[in-house]
Amino acid sequence: MWLPVVGLILGVVLGFLFSVEIPLGYVKYTAIAILAAIDTILGGLRAQVEDRFDLSIFLSGFVVNAAFAALLAGIGDLLGLDIYLGAVIAFSIRIFDNVGFIRRDVITHYLKHGR
């Protein structure tokens, strides 16, 4: 259980050590990448709780979702339309969905355990 926490701490430390400067126009791309990563994490957590975790689905979901969101944001930049907001909303909805499912799974798990 400690390995993911170690990973998170390692990422934060790396972020502080190498303060990468993002060009002004690309700030929203990294924001979308963060949302895609959080979405994937929660999806993976939910799959793990529901005992159907699959590494290939987990990783491909992250890569493809992030790439597609970046593509949408790029097209939005070309069209002068904030299409990336669509990706932001979709990711946010999925994140809330997954949090809800995880909550339900955990509650039923502990209630079963208690009984």
């Binding site: 790396l14 972020g15 963060i34 990563a37």
Partner: protein, 252 residues
């Protein structure tokens, strides 16, 4: 089959789950820290939220264009100053000759105030109120009326002309935008006072000739006044001359 496979999968899952989660969480940690760093940096240096960056970029581009224009102007002025200094350093006689030539050219181009006998033409919008149903355009002066009078003054031999204090030079256009008349890109309003230097009698005769534009204006009840003066002042051109596309043809 599921029962037989499950123990193996149970062993394999944590091995896959934890490292991949750890890697992704490392990604998230790195990205979040970087993003927060950058957003703070933007907010600190620009004092605006990052969502307004595009407006800022737009005004920045405008300012850069303005600055480039000003820089070329500075370069031009410096070059001219260098020329002057060189001329001052040269012998006084040749400097005087060059200077006289320069003054003549400046007067011809319209960069110096001129004075001399001349004619002042005053035009105004029609005093007659427009009749019901009549096009009000027929009672106000148009840029073409002003341009017509100016053209006739040149044709009559005027040597310098100004409209409402705006000198007519080689690049002057008399035009209109909406309801205002533009001359040298300056907005004008009636009454239009056209000052011309030249033989007052000849200028007046030419303007009053039958079929001239003043006769037309008078026929439409526009108040037209011609006043000859023994001395009129024509102000210098205050704008700039700028060739962006044109260059001197060396073959001529």
């Amino acid at each position: 089959m599921a029962d037989a496979g499950s123990p193996r999968v149970q062993v394999e899952r944590p091995l896959l789950w934890r490292p991949s989660m750890a890697v992704l969480l490392a990604c998230i940690g790195f990205l979040v820290v970087t993003q927060v760093h950058n957003v703070w940096r933007i907010r600190r240096t620009l004092r605006i939220p990052s969502t307004q960056l595009e407006e800022l970029a737009f005004s920045l581009r405008n300012q850069e264009r303005n600055r480039a224009a000003l820089e070329t102007q500075v370069a031009e002025l410096r070059a001219r100053l260098a020329d002057y200094e060189k001329a001052a350093a040269e012998s006084r006689t040749s400097a005087a000759g060059v200077n006289r030539q320069l003054q003549d050219l400046r007067a011809l181009v319209g960069l110096t105030a001129l004075e001399g006998p001349g004619l002042v033409v005053t035009l105004n919008d029609s005093t007659r109120p427009p009749k019901a149903g009549e096009d009000p355009n027929k009672t106000i002066l148009h840029y073409s009326d002003i341009a017509g009078v100016v053209a006739e003054l040149w044709a009559a031999g005027a040597e310098a002309i100004a409209v409402n204090g705006e000198r007519i030079v080689t690049s002057t256009g008399i035009n209109c935008v909406g309801t205002t008349i533009l001359c040298n890109t300056k907005r004008m309003a009636p009454p239009y006072v056209i000052t011309a230097i030249g033989d007052p009698r000849r200028l007046g005769q030419y303007l009053r000739r039958p079929g001239g534009s003043l006769e037309m204006l008078a026929a439409f009840d526009f108040p037209v006044r011609l006043t000859p003066y023994p001395r009129v002042d024509v102000p210098p051109y205050r704008g700039t001359f700028h060739f962006e596309y044109a260059g001197v043809n060396e073959k001529e």
